[in-house]
Structures are given as structure tokens and as C-alpha cells.
């Protein structure tokens, strides 16, 4: 069949309507690539059908942000519904009266832990001078962790702190990150103990997201992330509607790589 015959046959109109067999579609897709006349004809048919369709629309369609919101909500909802046990009636326990007690208990545990650690460190220091340098590094890291833990306790105990759960995404369903966001001081603390260790030359990057329009803003990198170092503190002056963590090349990226989205959670969940 020549291209003129094909054009006159009416088959291309059915192709645009999606009414031909898979086999014929594949043949025509190839012909469209190879033959300029056929390509132009198909585009003209498509244009007229698109115009008819557009004339049947009644309102504006500048609602791309609504589409993005639905995508984010669906992702978050999917992970949450996967995680949620089918408990038909949940008993709601008001947490406020327990926050003070919880903070006190954590403080106590923390001081016991710190005392034990300090004693251990002192013993080792006196008995093994060669390891002094290495131990000093560990102590430095311990101090930093201690400061962060104190900050975490203060933040968690504050009435202005929201706890946001970032659920594991497709790439890492078992991951789970807690964000403590003190909206009064514009500070967040991230407990990233449930993230897998980042591969060499890669780093986790934390993003604040606003949904309309969908705008990711980098909050910072989980630098020196390791099993011992899983608490991170950042300033967050953003009006965040969601937080996400992606894996990026060392140094971080300008925009998040959604294929490497490890955890995500909305602030209203």
C-alpha cells in the first residue's frame, strides 16, 4: 500500500482513536517514523480530535498543583496504609500529661548512659595510651551526640514541637525517620537511625516540601551518617507541608532525585 492509499483508507483515523490491533499499531508507528506524509496526516487527525475534545471542556485546567498534591498524598497514604494494622477501633490516649514524665525518664536513662560511657572511657584512657587519639575522636563525637540528645529532649518536651513520621518509600520500604519540628524556634531534629547506611560517594539530603506549588527546598545533608551518628539538627524556617529524604551524590543536589526517595511524610499526617 502506498502512503497515499494508506492516508485515503481511513485507517489512520482509527489508529488515532486506538481501535486497531497491537500488531497493526506497531507497523503504523514505524511507518509514521519513516514517512513524512503519513506523520503529517496523523498529526492533523490528532489535532482535529484534540480540538473537538478541548471544545467539550467547560472549565480551566490550570490545576497542575492539585495533580501533584494527589500524587504526594497517594504515595504517603499508600505507605501508611501498608504499615497500618487492621485495627477497627483505636483507643486514643492523650499524650500531653505524659510528656513531662517521658522527658524525665529519658533524661535519667541518658545520664546513666553518659556516666557509664564516661567511666569506660576513663578506664581505657589510663590503661591504653596508644589509643588516645582515636578515643579523643570518639569522645568528640560523643559530645556532639550528647549536645544533640539534649537538644532533642528540649525539642521533644516543648509544646510547640510536632513529631512527623517519614515513611519508607518504594526503594526502601523498611526505612523510617522521625522528624521533631519545633515551629517556634524553626528547628528540626532528625532521628535517622532507621535509614540504611549511605553507600560511598553518596549522601542523604533532607528536603522541605511545599505542595502548592510543589517546591522542594534543601534543608541539609546527613553528613558523616553512621550507626553511631544518627541524630541531626537543622534550622528550618520553611512553611513545610512535607519532609522527604533522598540519596544524592556527595555534596548534595540542587533538586531531589525522586527515584532515590527513601522516606516521605506530610506535616499534617
Amino acid at each position: 500500500m502506498t502512503s497515499k492509499e494508506l492516508i485515503a483508507s481511513g485507517e489512520l483515523e482509527l489508529y488515532v482513536a486506538g481501535l486497531l490491533s497491537e500488531e497493526r499499531n506497531a507497523e503504523l508507528a514505524q511507518l509514521i517514523q519513516d514517512d513524512e506524509d503519513i506523520r503529517q496526516e496523523v498529526e492533523a487527525i490528532e489535532q482535529i480530535v484534540m480540538r473537538l475534545a478541548a471544545e467539550a471542556s467547560v472549565s480551566d485546567t490550570e490545576d497542575f498543583n492539585e495533580v501533584l498534591k494527589k500524587i504526594v498524598k497517594q504515595r504517603v497514604g499508600k505507605v501508611q496504609s501498608d504499615e497500618t494494622e487492621p485495627t477497627p477501633k483505636k483507643k486514643v490516649i492523650p499524650l500531653t500529661p505524659y510528656i513531662g514524665w517521658a522527658a524525665a525518664a529519658i533524661f535519667l536513662m541518658f545520664f546513666v548512659y553518659q556516666y557509664q560511657t564516661t567511666t569506660e572511657v576513663q578506664t581505657i584512657l589510663t590503661s591504653n595510651i596508644e589509643q588516645k587519639e582515636k578515643l579523643e575522636e570518639q569522645i568528640e563525637s560523643q559530645i556532639q551526640n550528647t549536645i544533640l540528645k539534649e537538644e532533642l529532649l528540649k525539642t521533644v518536651a516543648s509544646i510547640n514541637t510536632k513529631k512527623i513520621n517519614l515513611a519508607g518509600q518504594e526503594i526502601s520500604p523498611d526505612s523510617n525517620v522521625s522528624v521533631f519540628w519545633n515551629t517556634e524556634k524553626d528547628k528540626i531534629i532528625i532521628d535517622a537511625s532507621q535509614l540504611p547506611e549511605a553507600p560511598d560517594s553518596m549522601v542523604y539530603q533532607v528536603w522541605s516540601l511545599t505542595l502548592s506549588p510543589l517546591t522542594p527546598t534543601s534543608i541539609g545533608l546527613l553528613d558523616n551518617y553512621s550507626n553511631q551518628n544518627t541524630l541531626f539538627s537543622f534550622d528550618n524556617p520553611n512553611a513545610s507541608e512535607a519532609f522527604g529524604i533522598t540519596l544524592e551524590p556527595n555534596g548534595g543536589s540542587e533538586t531531589p532525585n525522586l527515584e532515590q526517595l527513601y522516606v516521605l511524610g506530610t506535616t499534617d499526617s
Binding site: A26, R51, L52, V67
Partner: protein
């Protein structure tokens, strides 16, 4: 590769900018295609958004060898609208729902319509056609009719569906070119 092919390739690797451009290019058409079946602005908009969510989620499944990107979108929109139109909720809401939007617009007397009125542009396009063309175009592009089903409903031979559809669209294209 034309512009659409490039944007579709970018969509497949989850490029949000490309997705936004494709939404801008096709949302009005997809909304219209849904509205032909649903005939309700708010519900059609919701379904249109859901179709684009699906486009994002399923973009990997689009295969250019199986058809045009627009055809893929149109098919998804038609299916979503038809599914919704079969729901109980929709059936109870839509007591005065006309079955064939194109045909009902075509049959409205011209004297009763003014410029700028709802579906005015569509009415002017359809009025350039014969009734049998309006029926056939609505069935093949905006409903889920196969060639065979259209032939049976219109009581015409199967081969006539193809040639009539070609002549109807050709006529419309030529008239619009002269506008």
C-alpha cells in the same frame, strides 16, 4: 523525535517539569473528553486530575509502538469516565443526563443559542457536519465503541465505518482550514 516524544521520554524518568508541560499540552483535551461522558464540570475536573496522577504513576507502561501518546491519554480518560458513569453515585445524581453530548448539542436549534454560550465552539464545529458524522465521531473517539459496535448501532456495514469516519473528519478539517 519531536517535542512530545522528548517530553514523554523525560516523563518516564519522572521529570516533573516535563510532566507539567505535558499536562499543559493535554489537560484541556482530556478534561473535554471526560466531560463528553460525565457532563459535570466539577466531577470531570476531579477525574481529569486522577487521570494525570495515573499518567505519572504508569508512565513506564506507555509504549510508542502501541499508539500515540494522545491516544493513550484519551483511552485512559475514556475508561476512567466510563467507570465513574457506571457508579451508583453518578447514576442517582444524573437524572437529566443526556446520553450523547455531541448529538444533543448538534440538535439544539441555532436560534436559541448565542455566541459565548456553553459549548458554543463545539456547536459551531459540529454544525458543519451531518448528523451521522456527529454520531460516529462521538462513538469512536469519545465513547468506548469498537468499529463493529458502531456499525451495529448505526446499521451500516463494517467497512463503511472506516470510510465514513475518514470523510467526516476530512470535511471538518477542510472547513476549519477555511475559517
Amino acid at each position: 523525535m519531536d517535542k512530545t516524544d522528548i517530553l514523554v521520554a523525560q516523563l518516564k524518568v519522572k521529570d516533573v517539569d516535563a510532566f507539567e508541560q505535558l499536562h499543559h499540552m493535554y489537560a484541556k483535551n482530556i478534561l473535554g473528553a471526560i466531560n463528553v461522558i460525565i457532563q459535570d464540570e466539577a466531577i470531570s475536573k476531579e477525574i481529569c486530575q486522577d487521570v494525570f496522577v495515573k499518567v505519572w504513576e504508569k508512565s513506564q507502561l506507555y509504549d510508542a509502538a502501541k499508539g500515540r501518546f494522545f491516544t493513550w491519554l484519551l483511552n485512559m480518560a475514556r475508561n476512567a469516565a466510563i467507570d465513574y458513569s457506571r457508579s451508583k453515585e453518578f447514576k442517582t445524581q444524573k437524572k437529566n443526563h443526556s446520553l450523547d453530548l455531541f448529538v444533543s448539542i448538534y440538535e439544539q436549534p441555532t436560534d436559541n443559542t448565542t455566541s459565548g454560550e456553553k459549548y458554543d465552539g463545539l456547536r459551531r464545529m459540529l454544525k458543519q457536519l451531518k448528523r451521522k458524522c456527529v454520531e460516529l465521531i462521538e462513538m469512536l473517539y469519545f465513547k468506548d465503541y469498537t468499529q463493529k459496535m458502531a456499525a451495529e448501532r448505526l446499521s451500516i456495514p463494517l467497512g463503511t465505518v472506516k470510510s465514513r469516519n475518514r470523510n467526516c473528519l476530512k470535511h471538518l478539517r477542510e472547513n476549519l482550514k477555511n475559517d
